[in-house]
């Protein structure tokens, strides 16, 4: 291959023997293993990457890491496409495809750039001041605004990848694998502590990878290699490269996004977890998250070719790429001189080093001077030129106060402008943990002050920038963390490698570098936030208009709200605001950082519980039979229950009607295993029943059952069911399917917290028993055959009786209970016999025409009887009296849960909604459930409503539609005609008793 002239022949962490092909905006290019997309593009001489968010200005690559505000691309296509990825964070792989975003038709010729021409009338928040007329027109304006905004495009298809999660526990979690982090991890590991070391990069080393430091007379990367090798040898150490710690939550709980296959072509990652979410509970945390270089805010500081100085150095040393041929360095500190020297050494021409400080004497500047580099001290860049790439800058003398420039502008040709405004410690995780920051005016940055959690910062994120100091601090932090976690630290030997650490003079912080015209006056823009196109003038405007809190300013200008989350704009923006308000930075405040540190895939947060695993499903011991015989399932909470069993050619209506007929005319069978079952054992069991049910339980005989209503303390019905007395001090309570856990929890709560000395134990036995319900006039014939040894005659086994005995030869229980209004038995056996019992029933029942019926038929049958169901007739707003079930309330009991609430004034209103039946005059009509009921039909709304339909079915038994409804003062309305307005018509109905079928209960007792 023909090497591009930007790529050095030697050096860096790239593998020159492994060339990778990739596509950028549809054109093929070549890069090297070890490249990022950004370094590969730079190596190919590509400087224009995309268009900016608001003004559609051309933008290039600004940084080499997570802080990138400009180089945002669309990665891959089809189901694998991903919008808004930072080119600086994409590891290059063979076959990679990427495109520019936010431009049309191409990044070179972008129609949206007209916005830049109108920039004068588009200051921060311009949209708050206009587009108000006419008021209906906002949707039209919005249509165009929405299409102009946004960056990349979402995929249209579902993501084929797998995401995984794991919990982890450790003694010391070290965040960041630079010099401080490696030192901390090594120190902690040597004590025997469980250590996790996570770093967002593909390899450990942090800033050392992008520099040419020498440690113990060898390249620093050699020290990195040895440390990583030693760490890998500890069984208690887990190394997580490509892993971003993005959230620091309460009680030292941290979330890590590990990218496992993002460095591979999508087809090579197929079937393997693409990413893993580590949820770590750490005894101690060492934050070694480094720092982010700050830009300078100067005129037209957004041209492609303007780049953070350290990033240019990283491209050179780590990737072997010259980010330009001729560079101008623009700095306010000594550190950028190291970049200048490295660039010069690699053959990049240095146009000049423009330094805001009038007096530049530190060791690094001296070295640069000695190297023959031109230093323009006390000067400033006042303009940049170039279209798709910087071509030159203009430089003028800066006034001693830094508030204006003077003299003649001097033009310096360059295609790279390396900017450095000092360093901001990466305090995001520290801030997330609840730690308090303090402002260090000398270094113009926020540093950690007071920890809230078990955490310590080391290295650059702590404001310690020298590499030797970072190592020392890392060792100390790792050791201290392990010590606090309970590991012996005495005698752990740690020797820092010898490394040169040049001293640095102070920086000169200027909120805005003055330009040739006043800020905001000329055409030049001083950008603060490149991602959201926020300028210094915008921040000043916000301050002027009274948005004095930094939160107001951020929201008004959108400063720091872009895809880079303001990593490079936060402190500069704050400095400009403070300056505009005439305050000190700490008095204006900083923002509290919230997770995530960098954007996190929703797929990762969702993890493995997707598709068939997305909801926990529960099945009964008889599930297979239902499935194999074509049963259609319905979800009741987590339970999967047979809804109906269609035969060939039947739709739901036909099947349900047939099932209903079978129960009314012969016999049906239903799987009732999902009903909740709770055993209450002990002498005080009856006290519990008396307290949790509204009726009285003292006189229930052994072997008998009783129905009861359960009320909340607010007097509202929340559950109902039948409880059987199995023995002297042993009761079996049944609950609804969905209410089982709640009822158990409700009783257990009272027993543990209020009735603490009652002698009773409660145990959930729902899962222990399979229950089969046999209902219909022929039920007894069938049960007699199955329950050999039990007399099931009407006299010997009355309604609401229960017996223990053999069922189909298995040990079990027989109860005579009905939820359908027909003669009914419930047969229960231990769950492992459930399928055997069911098949025995089906075999024996064939001659009676035994028909399996599902939940839909049950609903119809119970509605015919006016039996209530949770979520329909009661929903937490209905009292027993409302349901016409005062008979289920024992008013003479001194107390029960909810009793007092029933005495409140509102409970006694005559116009409360009460349960009634509705008989629609058109017998063929079935009211939609949820329909509203009115007393009078008016020509136009509002029409006062008096109630709503809670249940409504076609009654196959009565050959007409029936409905239950809650109607205001309904009990006094019997015989009245009410109206149910539907979408297209109004139906009339007569208020009737909710019991439509067999009101005397003859069949039930038969």
């Amino acid at each position: 291959m023909k090497r591009s002239e930007a790529r050095l022949d030697t050096g860096g962490r790239v593998n020159r023997d492994r060339v990778l092909n990739f596509t950028w905006n549809g054109k093929p290019y070549k890069g090297l293993e070890g490249d990022t997309l950004a370094s590969a593009l730079l190596a190919n001489g590509i400087s224009l990457i995309g268009r900016s968010f608001k003004y559609h200005r051309p933008r290039g690559i600004f940084s080499a890491g997570a802080e990138e505000p400009n180089a945002i691309v669309q990665l891959e296509a089809g189901a694998y496409t991903q919008p808004n990825v930072k080119a600086t964070q994409i590891e290059l792989y063979e076959g990679l495809e990427a495109r520019s975003v936010n431009c049309w038709p191409t990044v070179e010729y972008d129609f949206g750039a007209v916005a830049n021409l109108c920039a004068k009338i588009l200051p921060a928040g311009f949209y708050y001041k206009t587009f108000m007329w006419p008021s209906r027109f906002w949707l039209t304006y919005e249509y165009f605004i929405r299409r102009a905004a946004g960056l990349g495009r979402a995929p249209k298809e579902a993501d084929p990848d797998i995401y995984d999660k794991a919990h982890a526990h450790c003694d010391v979690l070290v965040v960041g694998g630079g010099p401080a982090g490696l030192a901390a991890a090594l120190a902690a590991a040597r004590t025997g502590a469980r250590v996790i070391l996570a770093d967002e990069q593909s390899e450990f080393g942090g800033d050392l990878l992008g520099r040419r430091d020498v440690m113990d007379d060898a390249p620093a990367v050699e020290w990195v290699r040895k440390v990583v090798e030693e760490l890998a040898s500890f069984s208690e150490v887990r190394l997580l490269p490509r892993s971003t710690v993005f959230g620091y939550y309460d009680h030292n709980y941290l979330a890590i996004a590990e990218r496992r296959t993002d460095h591979l072509h999508p087809k090579d990652g197929l079937g393997k977890p693409r990413q893993r979410l580590w949820k770590v509970r750490a005894k101690q945390v060492v934050l070694a998250t480094g720092s982010i270089e700050r830009p300078l805010v100067f005129a037209d500081n957004d041209r492609p070719g303007v780049m953070l100085a350290e990033s240019a150095r990283t491209y050179l040393n780590r990737y072997g790429v010259k980010a330009g041929r001729r560079a101008v360095i623009f700095t306010n500190n000594d550190n950028a001189y190291a970049a200048a020297i490295d660039l010069a050494d690699a053959g990049v021409e240095i146009g000049a080093i423009v330094d805001l400080r009038p007096d530049v004497q530190g060791p690094l500047p001296q070295k640069a001077r000695a190297r023959g580099l031109e230093i323009l001290a006390g000067e400033a860049i006042v303009a940049t030129h170039g279209g798709r790439r910087a071509q030159s800058v203009e430089v003028m003398l800066l006034s001693p106060e830094g508030d204006h420039v003077h003299g003649t502008a001097r033009k310096i040709d360059c295609d790279l402008v390396c900017v450095s405004g000092g360093w901001s410690p990466t305090v995001h995780l520290f801030s997330q943990s609840g730690g308090k920051l303090t402002y260090d005016a000398g270094r113009a940055c926020f540093v950690p002050a007071k920890s809230k959690q078990a955490e310590r910062s080391a290295g650059a994120c702590h404001g310690t920038f020298g590499v030797a100091d970072c190592l020392d601090e890392g060792f100390a932090a790792g050791l201290a963390a392990a010590g606090t976690a309970g590991f012996a630290t005495a005698g752990i030997s740690l020797t820092a490698p010898a490394v040169e650490q040049p001293g640095e003079a102070g920086l000169r912080a200027l909120p805005i570098v003055p330009g040739k015209t006043a800020v905001g006056h000329g055409k030049a823009k001083h950008f603060v936030d490149l991602a959201n196109d926020v300028t210094a003038a915008d921040v000043r405007l916000a301050a002027r208009e009274g948005y004095r809190s930094v939160e107001h300013t951020k929201r008004y200008t959108t400063l720091g709200m872009g895809p880079d989350q303001g990593k490079t704009s936060n402190v500069p923006g704050l400095a400009i605001l403070a300056d505009a308000l005439g305050k000190e930075i700490p008095d204006v405040g900083t923002t509290t950082f919230r997770p995530p540190y960098t954007p996190v895939s929703y797929g990762l947060l969702a993890g493995r519980d997707v598709g068939e695993m997305s909801d926990l499903t529960r099945t009964t011991p008889i599930h297979e039979w239902h499935a194999m015989t074509g049963g259609v399932f319905d979800d009741a909470g987590q339970w999967r229950r047979p809804w109906y069993y269609p035969r060939a050619g039947e739709d739901m209506t036909a099947a349900v009607r047939r099932e209903c007929r079978a129960v009314r005319e012969s016999v049906g069978i239903m799987d009732a295993s999902t009903l909740g079952k709770i055993e209450l054992v002990g002498p005080d069991a009856v006290k519990v029943l008396n307290q949790v049910y509204a009726n009285a339980w003292d006189n229930l005989a052994v072997g008998r059952c009783r129905y009861g209503l359960m009320l909340g303390e607010d007097g509202m019905v929340f559950g109902d069911g039948v409880t059987a007395r199995l023995g002297e001090h042993r009761y079996l309570m049944t609950t609804t399917t969905g209410g089982a856990a709640r009822v158990f929890g409700w009783i257990d709560d009272w027993l543990q917290c209020e009735w603490t000395n009652w002698k009773v134990f409660i145990t959930s036995v729902t899962e222990q028993w399979a229950t089969v319900s046999i209902a219909g006039p022929r039920a007894r014939d069938l049960v007699r055959e199955l329950a050999v040894g039990t007399d099931v005659s009407a006299d010997a086994f009355p309604h609401m009786a229960i017996r223990e005995g053999k069922v189909a030869g298995f040990p079990g229980r027989i109860a005579r209970i009905s939820f359908t209004g027909e003669l009914g038995f419930e047969l229960s056996v231990p769950a492992s016999y459930g399928m055997a019992l069911w098949t025995a029933c089906v075999t024996a029942g064939a001659k009676y025409g035994l028909t399996p019926f599902g939940t839909e038929a049950v609903h119809v049958l119970r509605a015919e009887k006016g039996f209530i169901v949770n979520g329909h007739e009661f929903d937490g707003t209905v009292t027993p009296q409302d349901l016409g079930m005062a008979w289920a309330v024992n008013a003479s009991k001194p107390d029960f849960l909810g009793r007092r609430s029933l005495e409140r004034s509102d409970m006694k209103r005559a116009d409360r909604k009460q349960l009634v039946g509705l008989q629609v005059q058109d017998a063929t009509a079935v009211l939609p459930e949820g329909s509203q009921v009115v007393e009078r039909v008016l020509k136009a709304p509002p029409m006062p409503m008096i109630g709503h339909v809670t249940s409504s079915y076609w009654s196959e038994t009565l050959k007409r539609g029936i409905a239950l409804a809650l109607v205001a003062g309904g009990h006094a309305r019997m015989g009245q005609t009410v109206h149910i307005p539907l979408e297209d018509k109004v139906l009339d109905a007569v208020v009737v008793s909710p019991v439509f079928y067999d009101p005397e209960g003859k069949r039930l007792h038969g």
Partner: protein, 418 residues
């Protein structure tokens, strides 16, 4: 107040936008006001504005412990709708719906009210019953709303998985065309600017530390900037209502919880309506292109304004199931607000045990959409001393009588049957 328009923008462009006036003054507290409103959130600011505009009560201070508009009005998912079940709630929220369309012009500040329509999706039979009940009730109350079929939903929200095999099947839904979203900050700022122009004092960084009473009647408030006398005081403090009520010697039937929301990175338009569901509270796409997702409240009391991870995991799981194309998208930002949730999930408005002390709290998870209506009727209540007819059912007395207004279903987390 100098008016905003395209012309003022052009004019100011000539002076480099350096001539714009302040949005509101930063006055020193007066010793006494006719009305002191505690809390410069959306509801407090709207109340102040309508007191001045509708009732001519301009000697008003809005006292705020932090910066105005910094509470839940800055932390919600910006949804505006009125599809509530009970007639009391429906009328109250619809009062707001009536005011939203004209709000930008009324305040001369673009609140970007975008009536793009709202879908409530039903995933179960119980959901559908509840939705139909709500839609019918709204229609009979004269409030616009209708039912949608699955096919209609698929057309309005193509990224929603409406296939029969979806793990959360879409059985149908309801629709409110006039519902939508608005720019939350702008609502607070717009009301503040308009109230200021009518003479209302915004007292920021002025935390209330006590409520002065004499003989069962309120006489003023103690603040970080001194004691301020007042003839009437109104508590409009959302998440902090319990704390402020305690200063006046009574408790409230509510709990403060954290509610979280998160947004994705900005994208080109993929969702043109607001979608709510019993499985995931809400999704909409902002004008900037971010998908804005509202989550459920955290499961324990908190004033932290920051949420935990499990709720985010749960919401992401549901979101990616409902919207399969979102799995590769990324969460950019998340935040939490403190919501005051009453036991019946309906607001508490009106009089208190202390004479001349009024409350307007407990909006819980539904506060933003109601701001204009709430401010309008609450201003009436303060000015006349008697609850506005729309306010009357929402009094604190309902908790003793038992006449609660259950709206748990309206927040999206529908109550499920068996």
């Amino acid at each position: 107040m100098r008016r905003y328009s395209i012309w003022s923008l052009l004019r100011n462009a000539r002076s480099y936008h350096e001539g714009w006036p302040e949005m509101w003054r930063s006055p020193e507290p007066k010793p006494e006001y006719d009305v002191v409103i505690i809390g410069a959130g959306g509801h407090g600011l709207a109340t102040a504005y309508y007191l001045a505009k509708e009732h001519g009560v301009t000697n008003v201070a809005v006292v705020e412990k932090g910066w105005l508009g910094g509470g839940n009005v800055a932390r919600n998912t910006t949804i505006v709708r009125s599809n509530y079940l009970s007639p009391e709630s429906a009328f109250l929220y619809d009062k707001a719906m009536e005011l939203w369309p004209g709000l930008s012009r009324e305040l001369n500040y673009n609140v970007m009210f975008s009536p793009r329509g709202l879908i409530n999706v039903g995933h179960s039979r119980e959901d559908m019953i509840e939705l139909r009940r709500r839609v019918r009730a709204l229609q009979l109350n004269g409030i616009e709303s209708s039912m949608l079929t699955t096919a209609e939903i698929a057309k309005k929200a193509p990224i929603l998985d409406c296939s029969p095999t979806a793990s959360n099947p879409v059985l149908g839904g309801s629709w409110q065309a006039k519902a939508g979203i608005a720019r939350h900050d702008a609502v607070a700022w717009g009301y503040a600017r308009a109230a200021d122009a009518r003479g209302v004092d915004m007292l920021q960084n002025c935390e209330v530390t006590g409520i002065r009473r004499e003989g069962g009647r309120v006489t003023g408030v103690e603040t970080a900037r001194g004691t301020i006398r007042a003839r009437k005081v109104a508590i409009v403090t959302a998440g902090h209502s319990g704390v402020v009520a305690a200063m006046a010697g009574f408790r409230l039937p509510l709990t403060a919880y954290t509610m979280q929301a998160f947004v994705s990175e900005p994208m080109k338009p993929i969702l043109d309506t607001v979608v709510m569901s019993s499985k995931l509270v809400s999704v909409s796409q902002s004008d900037k292109g971010e998908l804005v997702i509202g989550m459920s409240t955290e499961p324990y009391a908190s004033y932290s304004q920051r949420g935990s991870l499990p709720e985010v995991e749960r919401a992401a799981q549901t979101m990616t199931e409902l919207y399969p194309c979102t799995r590769r998208l990324r969460m950019l930002r998340k935040w939490g607000g403190t919501v005051d949730v009453p036991v019946d999930a309906s607001p508490i408005m009106g009089k208190t045990p202390v004479e001349n002390l009024f409350i307007n709290v407990g909006w819980g998870t539904g506060g933003f959409k109601s701001i204009p209506g709430s401010g309008f009727v609450f201003a009436h209540t303060i000015a006349t001393g008697e609850p506005h007819p729309l306010v009357a059912p929402f009094g604190l007395d309902r908790f003793a009588s038992g006449r609660l207004i259950s709206e748990h279903g309206a927040t999206g987390a529908l109550v499920h049957g068996e």
